[in-house]
């Protein structure tokens, strides 16, 4: 299956690219996607994820054609 993977803000800079196109068969969850694009790293706890532009969790499923995004916590600001 094919997954478009996008990165934002400080993570985009850290990855050194804005997106990847993943073509693989052994991917079932968001966590699997991260493992492939980060060459084997566990998903950092503070990293946020989205599938098809909706917030998602590490164990949420992904399917062919999905867009998965990883990004740092959003800018909150003091209350």
């Amino acid at each position: 299956m094919t997954i478009r993977v996008r990165y934002f803000a400080s993570l985009r800079e850290k990855m050194g690219r804005i997106e990847d196109t993943l073509v693989a068969e052994d991917i079932a969850t968001v966590s699997d996607v991260w493992r492939v694009v980060s060459t084997g790293q566990p998903l950092p706890e503070q990293l946020l994820c989205a599938v098809n532009m909706e917030y998602a969790k590490a164990m949420d499923p992904v399917k062919d054609g999905d867009e998965v995004a990883f990004f740092p916590p959003v800018t909150g600001g003091l209350e």
């Binding site: 996008r6 740092p72 916590p73 959003v74 600001g77």
Partner: protein
């Protein structure tokens, strides 16, 4: 209900005035309270002078999330209208970053809904701030 992202400077009070006279024309006489939140860029953060800031966002998801926040508020309170504008791109100190305006029958709902929308926006809408300071650039509150 209107949500928009804006790449150039905007005047929040002129926007609210124009919106009220256009979008709310049909509801004149119905609303008794308008609550407005305006967020403005400061020139100092964490003890450093900030000369400009770049606001990155996730095109598509950011607009969608803002729409969901407004929809949620609408289902919780009796809102006659909501108008949200958020800047993206390069922003200078004293520029308006965000406007949230809420029209209701009574003030309780206007205050509560306006507060709710700005807090949800701050905590869940995908925006990331990169500040330009004397020694270079830095991401704000992104601890990756």
């Amino acid at each position: 209900m209107t949500v928009k992202l804006c790449e150039t400077e905007f005047k929040p009070y002129a926007e609210v005035d124009a919106y009220q006279h256009q979008a709310l024309r049909e509801k004149e006489g119905e609303f008794g309270a308008t609550s407005i939140f305006v967020g403005t860029m400061r020139d100092l953060n964490l003890g450093d002078a900030v000369t400009q800031m770049t606001l990155e966002y996730y095109p598509g998801m950011t607009e969608r999330r803002l729409g969901q926040i407004v929809d949620e508020a609408q289902s919780r309170w009796n809102l006659l209208d909501v108008f949200v504008i958020h800047r993206v791109g390069v922003i200078k100190p004293n520029d308006t970053i965000v406007l949230v305006a809420v029209w209701t029958q009574h003030r309780d709902e206007a205050f509560a809904a306006c507060r709710h929308i700005i807090e949800e926006l701050k905590h869940t809408a995908p925006f990331w701030k990169k500040e330009t300071i004397k020694d270079g650039e830095r991401w704000v509150e992104s601890t990756i």
